[in-house]
Amino acid sequence: MSLLKESTHEQQSKLAEYCKTGIVPELTGILEENLHHYRRLVFNIGIDTIETAYPITYRFLPDEIWDKLVYEFYAEHKCQTPQVWRMPLEFYEYCVEKDIQGKMNLPFLNDLLYFEWLELEVHTMDDIPYPSFDTEGDLLNNLLAINPEHKLVKFTYPVHILAATELEGKAGNYFLLMYREKESGKVQCMDVSILYAYILEQIQNGLTLQAVLTDADSLFQINNFEMLKEHAINFINDLKQRQFILGFLNK
């Protein structure tokens, strides 16, 4: 239960609202000439955090459009996270909810923002315990151990491949594997085909490569298991070299 009087709460609310919107309120006993410092300081923290998280979108959008978007976000949205570095996720969610890409006629905007957020998220996300694994095993019939610190996502636009200025008219199915290297903590990105995305997803779900390929051969109507196997093994070996596939799950 709050011990604050309504009048005190009201003064606090008015100052906070002013910092969000810039609309000057009626406040009691203030130094009017200094009030704007609060709006400036609050807004600068917000805008710096968002611009740092979304450098590609920031550079791509014209200044006046970007400024208006950030201004509206700050005025309309109630930031929920106490951790300011997580706040850009709320900016992305706000843009999706308000259909900013529709209003701006930029159908790739959600994908672009999400790609930029994802890079930050994968870089900073909490450590996930690595599975116990052996380095020797049967690639086809043993369960594969994968780096758990990764995201496999589908985009409608190839935001991870092309510059923002080249995305128009490129709608399709694009898959991105993004993972964090264990030792360096660096984030690596890899464009993968829908077939390989399926294979990775099923391995992640606990199937052997042999089982996945058997399913994939019919699902994708390849009807050439040996060729599929050869390509898939090359792909898996590449991921082993990149240390995304760690080895063979030790059960």
């Binding site: 709050s2 011990l3 604050l4 009087k5 009048s7 005190t8 709460h9 003064q11 606090q12 609310s13 100052l15 906070a16 609202e17 910092c19 969000k20 406040l27 009691t28 006993g29 203030i30 130094l31 009017e32 200094n34 009030l35 410092h37 609060y38 300081l41 609050v42 923290i45 917000g46 955090t49 949205h77 109630k78 930031c79 929920q80 996270t81 106490p82 951790q83 300011v84 570095w85 706040m87 870089h123 900073t124 996300m125 909490d126 450590d127 996930i128 610190e149 964090r180 360096s184 903590g185 660096k186």
Partner: protein, 281 residues
């Protein structure tokens, strides 16, 4: 807090110079301070850096988002995360700002001035007690810099004193903030300090600031500490028992030699003032 070799001066651990600090033979703080908000739930490269830092230095925590003066309820989920972090890194001092950073369910990520009012005092005392009960340790509350009062019914020193007395919390005395406020609100900084609950001061902050006009200083943490703040620091420490002292430097990070020069100067001051019998107001 146990400090090595009778050294008292620490530095804010910032990502901008964390790597340099961890490898440095130049900058030798007695401890480091960090904002738990900036590290909780963070893995990968930064978690490794934090763990390395924790092996090398004692850690204090200085929170940003607890929003002790907010009209909103305390965020208990977040508070329990802080508690876990404090235990994990053996944090001996946890401090927060006597301000609010969240209102009407919206975080603002900056420090807004609380109305200096009796009902706000009662409200904050109850919240500090709740925080201390959950954390099972005292909270140290920092006097913040402010650019305008809002709906004040008492003076700042009375406001702070009543909260510290009523809650049993400790005080983080930010000497630079006293200087900034004395300039912006035209009062005597030394007189102000004598009105504070000095027997409850458990921690000191020092920082630089930026004077942006004839009448306004902004507390930026982006400049070197100025001479007048060093003078006020010397005066302040002469009234206190020995406590850890922190240099805050968040922006315009200079060469580490420059930071060490500031640390050395503060250490020289306290080695003089804290060698004598201390006057506790």
């Amino acid at each position: 807090m146990q400090l090595k070799d009778n050294k008292h001066i620490g530095i804010g651990f910032r990502k901008d110079f964390s790597e340099e600090l961890l490898d440095s033979t130049v900058l030798k703080p007695a401890f480091i301070e960090l904002a738990p908000e900036n590290w909780i739930g963070m893995g990968g490269y930064w978690k490794k850096q934090l763990d390395k830092a924790a092996e090398k230095f004692p850690i204090t925590c200085h929170g940003l988002s607890l929003s002790i003066g907010s009209p909103d309820d305390l965020d208990l989920d977040f508070l329990y995360k802080i508690k876990k972090f404090i235990k994990q890194y053996n944090v001996q001092i946890y401090s927060e700002h006597l301000s609010y950073a969240k209102c009407d369910n919206a975080h603002l990520y900056d420090l807004l001035p609380i109305p200096f009012r009796k009902d706000a005092v009662k409200h904050i005392i109850a919240r500090i007690k709740q925080v201390q009960d959950i954390l099972e340790m005292p909270l140290a509350i920092e006097n913040v810099s402010y650019y305008t009062p809002v709906a004040a019914e008492m003076d700042e020193a009375t406001f702070i004193s009543e909260i510290v007395d009523g809650s049993g919390c400790n005080m983080l005395l930010d000497v630079n903030n006293v200087y900034v406020n004395s300039f912006n609100h035209n009062y005597n900084a030394k007189e102000f300090i004598t009105k504070l609950p000095l027997n409850k001061v458990s921690y000191i902050h020092m920082a630089g600031h930026e004077q942006i006009s004839d009448t306004v200083i902004i507390d930026t943490h982006g400049e070197a500490v100025i001479e007048k703040v060093f003078e006020l620091f010397e005066y302040t420490t002469s009234l206190l028992k020995p406590v850890p002292v922190l240099l805050e430097r968040d922006f315009n990070i200079p060469e580490l030699e420059e930071l060490q020069t500031e640390l050395t100067r503060m250490e020289t001051i306290v080695s003089k003032t804290w060698k004598k019998e201390h006057v506790i107001a």
